[in-house]
């Protein structure tokens, strides 16, 4: 499968490129744009990123595999992230984590067969005062309990 950036995205990459003195520095922004367009970063996507920025593919690969927010496999339409770090844990995050695991029938970094949900146990998301929390894709939901989490999951269509 050949991957090509849309023209709009090429423009966004050029804007990102202008922020930095080197092309390599724009790689993180470009990977985000590619992930938005393609859903995940495959081999072809990495090749395209490298050729658009004029850098080596290995540079793209090394960045993609280092950071946890880049996915090399397709994730669900709703990527559910449950924080279980200390502040959340003290306020019952593991109940939520176990509940969500049972409800979705998924484990850490697994995707449901219909591609609707994926689940991740994440490290501290910086919402410790509003714990426990989950995030669905990019949106935070805070001050939760198990019932509220189930309501949120039920509302995802």
């Amino acid at each position: 499968m050949i991957f090509k950036f849309t023209e709009e995205n090429i423009k966004r990459i050029e804007t990102a490129r202008k922020k930095y003195p080197t092309a390599l520095a724009a790689v993180m922004d470009t990977i985000y744009i590619a992930q938005e367009q393609n859903g995940f970063i495959s081999n072809e996507v990495m090749e395209e990123i490298a050729s658009v920025l004029g850098i080596d593919k290995v540079n793209v690969l090394s960045v993609v595999t280092f950071y946890t927010m880049y996915h090399t496999k397709p994730m669900g339409k709703y990527h559910v992230q449950v924080c279980t770090n200390v502040s959340c844990m003290l306020r019952g995050a593991y109940e939520i984590w176990d509940g969500v695991k049972d409800k979705l029938g998924l484990d850490h970094m697994k995707v449901s067969p219909d591609g609707k949900y994926s689940l991740e146990e994440v490290e501290c998301m910086g919402a410790c005062g509003y714990a426990p929390m989950i995030a669905v894709n990019e949106d935070y939901f805070e001050n939760l309990n198990k019932e509220k989490v189930f309501e949120i999951l039920d509302s995802l269509k």
Partner: protein, 440 residues
């Protein structure tokens, strides 16, 4: 009560409201001074970094070389991934323009033409808010080329937001620079320090978001005013993020040197269900924890916390009540550092994993008293033997949690070492191969 970083003014995050309350006035006032005067004033104000090390901000700025052909850079650290710390997002949300004003003043003081604001990737909502604020500041000529007209000076600087992608280690300054350069977030060996060779090999200063947000207030009211707030050796206000078993968790801005008990019981509403406190981590998960019976009279500033054997860190106070299972807490902390170790230095990469495995063995009921000593010895071998401070950050909680709560941890382990088989080496290694297989 003095509020510097998060003033309680409605809609302060709107540029009109900010300008109506004297916004960008202190920048105008400051640009009449020379950069040296500004650095000197910040030094005299006693402003110390709010990112963890509590290093003097003015002193850090003064390390920047005065004569150089290379461009200089400012990095503002908003990676904020320390468990227990959630203060910077409050600044992005409620006071973005003071941060921008602080950034341009700092750029002027150190002679930087470009500032990068590094925000963690998970904070998508706050990156958008911040980007909106930066765009507005550009449009009104407070940042960028138009600065020259607005302020009538021969200086301009740019402010760009760099989005991280979920790596705790990128909060470490040299790792943050590598991340901006588009590399893996590996920390660099120091020296050379960033002020000599930083971003793209050029002189660079890295400050926390909260530190930079303090700068306009110091310029506006003078260094004498700032140095009189809170504890004399660590002046100013600090954003405390209180979380865990308290009734009213949240971010509170208080003068430094406030009593820890005051913070927990009066400001954060006390402990849930009126329980007793077993443990408090005063500065985010990597700082040494304090015992519940140790809290009386402890003041929240860098020097006082050092005296009682902890550190101010990022001001993320985590409170745990008497029913907390500290073993589970420590496993979670150890798992975090195992997950976030970048893998560059062997002591940290291997040690964090072994600490987690040993703790899990204790949790499964197979631990002995010797395991507790083993954990401390592993922690001691990580501490100080790594390139960056994550090694220390991973070692401290394990080392001090076990040392200070030894009585509790002894309850989780068997007193006697029982080796069920004669082959001591294998049994102590906890090998995955069943012994029957080995004996065959």
């Amino acid at each position: 009560m003095e509020r510097i970083v998060l003033p309680q003014i409605e809609n302060f995050n709107q540029i009109e409201v900010y300008l109506a309350n004297g916004g960008f006035e202190s920048a105008k006032k400051t640009f009449a001074k020379t950069p040296d005067q500004i650095v000197d004033e910040v030094k005299k104000s006693g402003l110390r970094g709010r990112g963890g090390a509590a290093f003097s901000a003015g002193l850090k700025w003064s390390f920047m070389p005065k004569t150089t052909d290379k461009p200089k850079y400012l990095c503002i650290n908003g990676d904020e991934s320390e468990p227990g710390s959630f203060k910077d997002r409050q600044i992005f949300e409620d006071n973005p323009f003071q941060l921008i004003e602080g950034a341009i003043i700092t750029c002027y003081a150190i002679g930087a033409k470009v500032a990068y604001l590094y925000i963690r990737g998970e904070y998508n909502k706050w990156i958008k808010l911040m980007q909106k604020a930066v765009d507005e500041a550009y449009a009104r000529g407070f940042v960028g080329e138009k600065m020259k007209e607005t302020f009538g000076i021969d200086f301009s600087c740019d402010l760009f937001i760099h989005k991280g992608a979920g790596a705790y280690i990128c909060g470490e300054e040299s790792s943050l620079m590598n991340s901006i350069e588009g590399l893996r977030g590996y920390p660099r060996v120091k020296p050379p320090f960033p002020a000599q060779r930083g971003l793209w090999g050029c002189p660079t200063t890295i400050n926390n978001v909260e530190t930079i947000t303090n700068v306009p207030a110091i310029m506006k009211n003078g260094w004498e005013w700032f140095s009189k707030i809170g504890a004399p050796k660590h002046p100013g206000t600090i954003l405390f993020g209180v979380s865990g078993h308290v009734n009213k968790p949240g971010v509170y801005e208080l003068p430094s040197g406030v009593l820890l008990t005051d913070l927990i019981f009066n400001v954060a509403g006390g402990v849930r269900g009126n329980k007793r406190i077993k443990c408090v981590i005063p500065g985010g998960s990597s700082m040494p924890p304090l015992r519940g019976d140790q809290l009386e009279g402890v003041r929240m500033d860098a020097e006082s916390l050092k005296e009682v054997g902890s550190a101010i860190g990022t001001g993320g106070v985590m409170v745990m009540d008497e029913d907390t299972n500290l073993l589970k807490v420590l496993i979670r902390i150890a798992h975090f550092y195992h997950h976030e170790s970048c893998g560059q230095c062997t002591p940290c990469r291997e040690g964090t994993g072994w600490m987690e495995k040993t703790l899990r063995r204790i949790d499964e009921g197979n631990g002995t008293s010797a395991d507790l000593d083993l954990l401390i010895s592993v922690a001691n071998n990580i501490e100080g033997n790594t390139i960056c401070a994550l090694g220390d950050a991973a070692a401290w909680p394990v080392k001090f949690m076990i040392a200070r709560f030894r009585d509790e941890f002894e309850k989780y382990v068997n007193k006697n070492i029982s080796i069920p088989v004669p082959n001591k080496v294998h049994s102590m290694r906890g090998t995955a191969i069943p012994l029957t297989e080995i004996q065959k």
